[in-house]
Amino acid sequence: MTRLAAAFAALLFWAAAGAATPEDRLSGVFEAIEANQLDTAMKRVDALIAEYPNFRLAYLVRGDLLLARAQPLQTFGNVVKTVPQERLEGLREEALARLRAQRHRPAEDRLPRYVLQLSGSQKHAIVVDSRRSRLYVYANDQGKPRLVADYYVTLGKNGIEKTREGDQKTPVGVYHVTANLPRNKLTDFYGAGAYPINYPNEWDRRQGRNGHGIWLHGVPAEVYSRAPRASDGCIVLANPDLQAVARQLQIGVTPVIIADEIEWTDAASLDAERASLAAELEQWRADWQSRDTERYLAHYSREFSGPGQDYAAWAAHKRKVNSAKSWIKVGLGNVTMLRYPSERDVVVVSFEQDYRSNGLSNVMKKRQYWAKEAGRWKILYEGPA
């Protein structure tokens, strides 16, 4: 019997019993195994299966608990070698991912470095950690992120950093959900629903990345969840989890940030970064309003590109337009600042721009990509959002 505990050793961890989610209850099973209370473990896994008969991982644990009574176990998921190893490995990895996530929850004072600022209209932000196979939901607490829930997710078969159509990878970057595809418009494969994201975004296109159809979606009825690396690039959640996340999603508004491994920071550092960039943004606004075009253009990188324009074309256009103005007023509202994962100092800034001048006034949603060049924030891309 002690061999069973040993076989599970890699997966063991502390967990509170009696919690409601299947993942919490699975933790309770492992907790009992760790304590060598195998009858309790069996009872718990039986109850879990009774309630979630499509939770494949629970059957694997049950199989081990039964087999341990007949013979010593060699490994977790002690199935004969003639079965499809890929599926077995998938379940083992799912177990590890779920248990690790439970064991290593982010500390209260740790925040993802990406969510610098949320606008007043954004109620939540989604942050995905690929290595942990975990999706975190942050609430907008007066512009600052506060963790409210996290879920196990399945990502692309071939990992992350999608670059090409059909590479079965999940993109890394700053996105948002673009639509809500209801269950009745989808096959069972997508489960409880689907929410496409805007891959490839402006930054992806700039890097020459292609492909499309990256969605957040559910799972088919026959399974509770899928292996950590099993999708064609989509972010896949258990159906109850997808439904819970979906309740927080605002189409066209809620950011979805996908990282290889989330960089964590504290609120003070986040405040400092936010303040530094906010000052740059304010200076850009003031310089534009001042009609000193060279000062204004100094905010733009030589590598700048807008929709269909390089830096030279952009500069020429701005010089021409600005020289014809006797006054300009620029107002910014609903500002969002999201740091780009896996890039060195790139921040996606979105806002509502209220532009007035003699001759032309308009209100638009705008998106800029700011990057640090020689220690100074410069605009690499600017276009309508």
Binding site: M1, D39, R56, L57, A58, Y59, L60, R62, G63, D64, L66, L67, R69, A70, Q71, Q74, G77, N78, V79, V80, K81, T82, V83, P84, R87, L88, L91, E222, V223
Partner: protein, 326 residues
């Protein structure tokens, strides 16, 4: 698959003789009839056996030995429902007897009702915590339940394996109902001879068999060895051999291991059955097991006599030498 050889995972039958004289609750009215019936059943004459048993029961309707035999005859005749009724009634009238529970379990398992079989076997062990036959059977049932759970986990079509197991069991019953249990009737299994009328033993415990019965431990090891071989699990198979195992050709251990590994993993399927094993204890930590080995792969089928010399090291029985033809 149509061979008459018992597959490795067939459940073992309880031998009616085991408690024939232990009961003392009511003297068998027609002992000669019961004994005749046993002989007749052994030689496959079921109808005649049933006749004698009915005669014995006419004289004493409660005679457990006669009722047990009748249950066995019905089972062999494929009258499972009738057999279940008899064995169930026996468990109610004589709750301290492990054998009727065991045989109930064998029938349940043959019907694919592994949870029921598990319940009956756990009950059997509850009555006699050292009942080796029930332990071996329970091990098989746990393994079967585990394989069902794994099938669900991996979304395999479990119905195939289930059906195979069922067929194997029926064949076993028909061809070799008694021989299978012979080794467990060996005198070495002392606790079974204790009077059944004694106080109910220790509380239920689904723990490994107590060390009190080395014969059962040795048998379990040999069955595990055959199972690992059948499952083509080379690591598990090699794990049954002692560090100082005498390789058959005297070759170096790694060479022998590599050879075995290839032979075990190459075929599409392997079935190894251990029939009529005979355990001889050569000391508290040494044992010989002789048996008839039936090997069947997709390429080859062979039968041979085999003797394994086992030693106990760190609480585990390990194979020290393997001899063929004895």
């Amino acid at each position: 698959m149509q061979s008459s050889n018992a597959p490795r995972d067939a459940l073992r039958w309880a031998l009616p003789l085991l408690f024939a004289f232990a009961l003392g609750l009511s003297a068998p009215a027609r002992a000669d009839d019961v004994q005749d019936a046993q002989q007749l059943l052994k030689s496959g004459q079921r109808e005649q056996a049933l006749e004698r048993v009915n005669r014995a029961l006419a004289a004493n309707a409660r005679d457990p030995q006669a009722r047990f035999l009748k249950g066995l005859i019905f089972t062999e005749q494929g009258k499972q429902q009738e057999a279940i009724e008899i064995f169930t009634k026996l468990t109610q009238d004589y709750p301290n007897l492990p054998e009727p529970y065991n045989n109930l379990a064998v029938i349940y398992a043959s019907q694919g009702h592994y949870e029921k079989a598990r319940g009956a076997l756990e009950q059997s062990i509850r009555t006699h915590p050292s009942y080796a036959t029930a332990y071996e059977n329970l091990g098989d049932v746990y393994a079967k339940l585990a394989s069902q759970a794994y099938g669900k986990a991996l979304q395999l079509d479990a119905s195939n394996t289930g059906a195979q197991n069922k067929l194997a069991l029926v064949r076993d019953l028909v061809r070799e109902p008694i021989a299978k249990s012979a080794p467990t009737a060996a005198p070495a299994t002392a606790p079974k001879d204790s009077p059944v009328a004694s106080a109910p033993q220790a509380p239920p415990a689904a723990t490994p068999p107590p060390a009190a019965d080395p014969t059962a431990e040795v048998l379990k090891t040999v069955n595990g060895w055959a199972q690992a071989w059948s499952q083509q699990d080379a690591d598990a198979y090699l794990g049954y051999y002692a560090k100082d195992f005498k390789t058959p050709g005297g070759e170096a251990r790694p060479d022998w291991e590599n050879g075995r590994r290839t032979r075990i993993t190459a075929p599409k399927s392997i079935q190894v059955a251990v029939d009529s094993p005979k355990v001889t204890m050569r000391g508290p930590e040494r044992a010989s097991v002789s048996f008839r080995q039936t090997y069947r792969s997709d390429k080859l089928k062979s039968q041979s006599r085999k003797t394994l010399e086992l030693v106990k090291a760190d609480g585990r029985w390990l194979i020290e030498e393997e001899k063929a033809g004895k």
